[in-house]
Subunit: 341 residues, 2 copies
């Protein structure tokens, strides 16, 4: 009866909705990284001329959305829905950007998996003809995330080797059933919450890896595919620690994920000399790398088909202080590129 | 091109998805209120046998979901997606419930509008055949909300006359394209963020009323309907202050909302003698009243058609302390009941 399903966790899009435009706006550290030239805007100032980092996070989110719409020559009033979120409590960056843009807004929270969650729901809206075009966006800011989840930067706290560096940046995509495509969305696998008992707020990679493995295994089981069916299996922000754990978990489950097939946005975004320890993280990590690097390679035909799987660690300071472990979640999308898509 | 649209903000569901079961679990104060006999479970203890109010909030959320599934004779593994959220930072109640239920989970944040947001997206998933059945749920807890957004209860802080009392409770609905229906979902209007500059965390009704008016006006414009086309226009938790403001704003906009047509879940759920000031609020307010009172009246045919519009105030302590005002949002669903639905 559920006509758009393949297996237990995977959705198939009959119309293969299109990502018709995208934009990424990032902070100075990201702007000095390997993807430097690929971002739409790299700021000189992490405050972006605002009086607080939270306001800066909101302005960056909004700027990514506005640039995405501009590149598609779309006005905000033509957009039928906006889906997105961020890491701030009550997703204030996304909410305040939506207030400014005046687009009907559905707020999401999937921690660092938010970009995949937004695209997954955005693809459903466009595929089914419920809203079109749909703006999907996610963002984060290093300074606000450290203050909210760990320690304010002013404390000068030392970071552990497994710690990741939250990306200051935001990415936005406009999704539509029509128009020229950067890439098309053919399948999506909805993730379950997985929790293997990790309690270390400085080891988000380990908290997320089991969820990533679970979603990837479900994706392979549902579709009958394997890693070799993709040019790349791209995780959001597992980083060095979580990335190796994912490969190990996949090996154990009998679904090999060879290192050369696996790419992690958290390991692409920063120059290793930048002292980011286990890599980048945050909603803005996969969202900005998607726009800056993944979609252009799909459009050019360098990649024909990738699995984009953003990963989230649902860390709450309140429940952590009460002894709870950190649940993880991951959602995956198949993005198809190349000639005529 | 967008085939399921009516006007700029409204979605039309060709298959009119069904709410096939629902459940509501509430705290002791709610259990002493006018809807006492209608809840599936009213607890004696707001801690629900847990060691923190946050854990209790999660257990209440999970219990509402489990009871909803049980009433539909559905096992968690048959449910293709769970959509929901709550007021805790990082929506931990919903996330931990989803961890326990092991259902593919899409986390939402719409503050007290979350139940409508979940049903709106759940209806799209079921209507389009992307996931079926879908579990939609929302919850809140007075003690966690006061601590997180205002003052810990232990401070004994005095509440102002415009303050509302966050409902301790959760509501869950199972949505499917098939099966016997408590009610059917025919239309949904997606709300925009509206902000008239309210900065008082003890006057959420005033912060939400402009968003409620905006969504209601868009609904009337998109559909050509008026208040008299509904047995009731049901708002989530505007309370006494926000409710009057909505009626005033509608009057000013030339779309009368007569007092007898307007019902607010926040004004139904508590006994006025319970000293709740301007009424109930919280995600759990509209979610539990929907299950306990609205759906049964639709099923019995007492009401043929209502507009269920949950309202959210996107209050963040961080941005409020930085001088930001409180943005509001409201999403509306047309629920149809009666003979043969």
């Amino acid at each position: 009866m559920t006509r758009h399903r393949v297996g237990a966790h995977t959705i198939e899009f009959g119309n293969r909705p299109r990502i018709v435009s995208s934009a990424a706006v990032v902070g100075p550290k990201e702007g000095r990284g390997p993807l430097s030239a690929l971002f739409d805007l790299a700021l000189d100032d992490p405050l972006y001329g605002q009086s607080s980092y939270e306001q800066a996070e909101c302005a960056i989110f909004q700027e990514a959305c506005s640039r995405c719409l501009k590149k598609a020559k779309a006005e905000p009033e033509q957009v039928q829905a906006m889906l997105g979120g961020d890491l701030l409590n009550q997703i204030m960056a996304a909410s305040l950007a939506a207030r400014q843009l005046e687009i009907p807004f559905l707020g999401l929270y999937g921690a660092c998996s938010t970009m995949a969650e937004a695209l997954l729901l955005g693809a459903i809206l466009a595929d089914g003809g419920y809203a079109d075009p749909v703006l999907c966006a996610a963002g984060s800011h290093y300074c606000t995330a450290e203050r909210q989840y760990r320690f304010p930067l002013e404390y000068g706290n030392q970071r552990t080797p497994a710690a990741q560096w939250t990306v200051t940046g935001a990415g936005a995509c406009l999704v539509s059933a029509e128009g020229p495509a950067l890439a098309r969305i053919s399948l999506a696998t909805v993730g379950q919450i997985k929790d293997m008992g990790i309690k270390d707020a400085n080891n988000m990679g380990a908290a997320m890896a089991p969820a990533a493995a679970d979603t990837l295994i479900h994706h392979f089981l549902d579709t009958g595919r394997k890693a070799s069916d993709y040019d790349k299996i791209i995780t959001g922000d597992l980083g060095r620690v979580g990335g190796s754990l994912l490969e190990e978990l996949m090996e154990q489950a009998g679904f090999a994920l060879p290192e050369e097939k696996h790419m992690d946005c958290g390991l692409c975004v920063f120059d290793p000399k930048e002292d980011v320890h286990a890599g980048g993280s945050g909603c803005g990590c996969s969202a900005s790398v998607l726009s800056a690097m993944i979609l252009p390679r799909l459009k050019s035909g360098e990649w024909k088909r990738v699995l984009f799987m953003a990963t989230g660690a649902l860390l709450s300071t309140t429940t952590s202080q009460q002894g709870e472990s950190i649940p993880g979640v991951a959602h995956a999308l198949v993005l198809e590129g190349g000639e005529g898509n």
